[in-house]
């Protein structure tokens, strides 16, 4: 039986699919960077806040790292808007269907994020006043975000299985069909969560480096602590990655093995991760650049997995296109102007901070 897939809207795509997909992957990488620091950060802070009951270094570290979390949360959400926008544009026929089938769960994401976001502010603002309870606040926040990751995984996997849509529809009630929680889905989610912990470890190490002027001991300890999370996380990730790879259906794996680009990306991602692992104790910068390469390669690889899954059922290149080039140009110009503006604001912010530190 042919899968039931909604028909495309009779309005052409405003740009060719290759451009929209490139933007989808590029903005997804940006979202990943912020999301990794947020999700991994709250997990690491849960552990540190627990240890901080007895260890003042952990207490001080959590206090300082907590200040970075509100902006990181804001950027995780906002940077996530763009990839989801392009996903809806190109793959809407699949995405809206899978979302509708699990509508209650999908809508719950909004409330979980809202609660988690306030949890982060509570943790930051009341960090000292909460005393030992602070560990519970961040633990609950971490659980909320892990739940978000779980629902995302379920939906992103469900949209790749249009052949199951109608069966699920007939046998369930629209809005309540979360779909099967398969070992593959768990492996995929674990792959994301472990990556987040590793990257957040590196992020904490980078953040600690900024404290070297005022608290050199804490900065040094924080750097080593963050690097340890990064290294252990990355080592575990190799195992989880293998688990995920070998959980993929044979057909999908074979299709990817047949693609030189997919194999090249996978090898490149692994080699760069190894490089990041080796350089982390000595050079945070080299390690960060290498791991950025891994994240980018893996994001493109993930997109290729999506294409391999959908290849029998859906081809975005078959959709009609009528480029809206003038407004696209405005977008590009404004994007550059926006980046320049944010760059200027960050520059004056840190320049003034540096001046202030130097004068005190």
């Amino acid at each position: 039986m042919n899968p039931v897939i909604p028909g495309p809207v009779p309005v052409p795509l405003p740009a060719p699919p290759w451009l929209l997909e490139s933007l989808l992957v590029f903005t997804f990488i940006l979202h990943l960077l912020a999301m990794n620091f947020l999700l991994g950060g709250v997990i690491i802070l849960s552990v540190s806040s627990y240890l901080g009951r007895r260890d003042s270094r952990h207490r001080e570290l959590t206090r300082r790292v907590s200040r970075a979390l509100p902006p990181v949360t804001a950027f995780t959400i906002t940077l996530g808007v763009a990839p989801l926008l392009f996903l809806q544009l190109v793959y809407g026929q699949l995405f809206y269907t899978s979302s509708d089938l699990m509508a209650w769960y999908w809508l719950a994401v909004v409330f979980l994020v809202l609660l988690g976001y306030y949890g982060i502010y509570w943790y930051q603002i009341q960090h000292d006043e909460l005393g030992p309870r602070v560990a519970w606040v961040i633990l609950v926040t971490a659980i909320l975000f892990i739940l978000v990751a779980f629902i995302f995984t379920q939906n992103m996997m469900a949209m790749l299985h249009p052949q199951d849509f109608y069966r699920l529809f007939v046998n369930g009630r629209v809005g309540t069909i979360l779909g099967d929680v398969t070992p593959l889905n768990i492996a995929r989610m674990a792959h994301f969560v472990v990556a987040a912990v590793a990257l957040a470890g590196l992020g904490i190490a980078l953040l600690s480096w900024r404290w070297r002027g005022e608290s050199p001991e804490l900065a040094d300890w924080g750097r080593r602590y963050g690097v340890r999370w990064f290294m252990v996380g990355t080592l575990v990730q190799f195992l989880v990655g293998l688990w995920f790879l070998f959980s993929l259906p044979v057909g999908i794996r074979q299709a990817l093995v047949g693609e030189k680009l997919a194999v090249g990306l996978l090898v490149l991602g692994i080699l760069l991760a190894l490089l990041a692992l080796l350089t982390a104790p000595k050079s945070l910068l080299a390690s960060s650049v290498a791991i950025l390469g891994t994240v980018s390669a893996m994001a493109v690889w993930r997109h290729m997995v999506r294409l391999a899954y959908l290849q029998p059922y859906f081809d975005p290149h078959s959709l009609p296109v009528q480029g809206q080039w003038a407004v696209f140009l405005i977008f590009v110009v404004l994007l550059l102007a926006g980046i320049a503006t944010v760059g200027w604001m960050l520059y004056v912010f840190y320049r003034h901070s540096a001046t202030r530190r130097a004068s005190t």
Binding site: V4, P6, G7, V9, P10, V11, P12, L13, P14, L20, L23, P70, P71, A74, F75, I77, T78, V81, A82, L85, F86, Q88, G92, Q93, Y96, T97, S99, D100, L101, A103, W106, L107, V109, V110, V113, L114, Y117, Y118, Y121, Y166, F169, V170, V174, G175, Q324, A326, V327, I330, F331, L334, L335, G338, T341, V342, M345, L346, V348, F349, H352, S353
Partner: protein, 454 residues
């Protein structure tokens, strides 16, 4: 029809969107207006060399960040989430037409968020001139994001030239865009005042409280003064049917439109005679009262704005139930069950008429009606016989101007009627013969044995 229909139990999809949207509108307009208030109030403090006022602006900025960056941002995503679930077809259409508009808005969001944090964390780090400049960048980006989304919102009610031209410019520069932009900007100014009344009422120092309260009351009064004039301009651009609905055509909508004017007038009167004239006596309870009234105004006004768009979701292009006008002929010919992808039966089953009717309801009516809850269909047809229901279904668009016509074959309409009639079973003792006989003849129509529908 193209997508599975999600029926949120009792509340219905419309109300899910409505609840999130009203709260978001109340906060997002503050995000813009408050963004203008902060640098202007800060500049005032510098010019008057008033450190106490500056302290107030600082504390207000914390409140601003907690409300706007958290609730404003997440509820905005919430609207997007909910419209995609309730009206995927319309959402997909909007995204196809406006994706670069949304991408541009996204750029403004990035600048807005970065500016908000740097403004908030920069109080003690940046010199006053640079700090103010960051404040202005925030406001510029926030208002620009309103500029973008406003055109997309008004497109749904007044798509104008897009219906024939189908270009981005014809869609964005639609008849309602400019007047709505003025209305919304005025709302932003008014809401900046509403929220600032809350924070100013909490100031401990009586002299400072009095000074700030009187200042922020002017914001509220200025906003509410502009709204009616811009509102009349906006209403003049609406399709005539939309105007009629709000001015007597649909009693509930008219009542809500009246309430919108009433609440606005009350907010204005309370502000003028309260914080503006007697800032000394102003307190937090009064501030919350004004905020609740302002939220009520936002709620009823947004409800009216949505209601007057009925029966469409994109005017003259797509009905509220996601049926495109261009597809109606095909659906009538083929039947709605055959055209729909997400049904369990693709043809009316004469032996399970009510089940077929329920399927037709789900595809055609459930985007606005629930069975037992909000806008309950069971309540709407209470006391109606099957014959009465069938007549109404056959003339929905002319009898109820805010509803689309029933689209489908005669057997499908009769099946829907049968199911609707079954929702309020008539006790045997008051069952009426003529209706029973009509029902019988309709039932035989469905099986193909009887005469055609009258």
């Amino acid at each position: 029809m193209n997508y599975p229909v999600w029926e949120p139990f009792m509340i219905g999809g419309g109300l899910v969107i409505g609840i999130i949207a009203i709260l978001h509108v109340f906060v997002s307009h503050f995000a813009v207006g408050g963004g203008l208030f902060l640098p202007l109030a800060e500049r005032k403090a510098y010019r008057e060399n008033n450190p106490a006022l500056l302290e107030y602006v600082k504390s207000h900025s914390k409140f601003f960040v907690l409300v706007v960056l958290v609730f404003g941002a997440v509820s905005g995503v919430g609207i997007w989430w909910s419209i995609g679930l309730v009206n995927p077809e319309a959402t997909a259409t909007l995204i196809h037409v406006f994706v670069w508009g949304w991408a541009i808005e996204w750029v403004f969001f990035i600048v807005e968020i970065a500016a908000a944090f740097i403004y908030y964390y920069g109080w003690d780090r940046l010199d006053p001139k640079t700090h103010l400049r960051v404040g202005w960048i925030y406001f510029g980006a926030a208002w620009a994001s309103l500029l973008v989304i406003n055109g997309i919102l008004t497109f749904m009610l007044t798509p104008g030239r897009w219906l024939t031209a189908q270009t981005f410019a014809s869609a964005y520069f639609n008849p309602g865009m400019l007047p709505s932009l003025v209305v919304r900007t005025a709302v932003c100014i008014a809401l900046a005042g509403v929220y600032a009344l809350i924070t100013s009422a909490a100031v401990r120092d009586a002299a400072l409280r009095s000074e700030v309260v009187a200042y922020v009351a002017k914001w509220l009064l200025l906003g509410t003064l502009i709204i009616p004039f811009a509102g009349i301009w906006y209403i003049s651009t609406l399709p005539s049917m939309a105007r009629e609905i709000s001015m007597g055509g649909a009693p509930a909508v008219t009542i809500f439109a009246g309430l919108s004017i009433f609440f606005s007038a009350v907010v204005m009167a309370f502000t003028y005679f309260g914080p503006y004239q007697r800032p000394r006596d102003f307190n937090l309870v009064f501030a919350f009262l004004i905020a609740i009234l302002a939220l009520s105004t936002t709620g009823v006004t947004e409800w009216v704005r949505e209601a007057v768009r009925k029966p469409y979701i994109i005017y003259d292009y797509m009905y509220a139930n996601s049926f495109r006008l261009a597809d109606l002929g095909h659906i009538r010919e083929q039947g709605v069950l055959k055209s729909a992808r997400w049904v369990r039966q693709h043809e009316v089953d004469p032996h399970a008429l009510e089940r077929s009717g329920e399927e037709v309801f789900r595809v055609q009516c459930a985007s606005c009606h629930t069975v037992y809850g909000y806008n309950s269909i069971r309540f709407a047809v209470k006391g109606w016989s099957w014959a009465m229901i069938d007549y109404q279904l056959g003339h929905l668009d002319s009898l109820k101007g805010f509803m689309p016509a029933f689209v489908g074959t005669d057997p499908e309409r009769q099946a829907l009627g049968a199911w609707l009639a079954s929702l309020n079973p008539v006790p045997a003792s008051i069952s009426m013969e003529p209706e029973a006989s009509t029902s019988k003849s309709q039932s035989s129509d469905v099986t193909g044995e009887g005469a055609s529908q009258p």
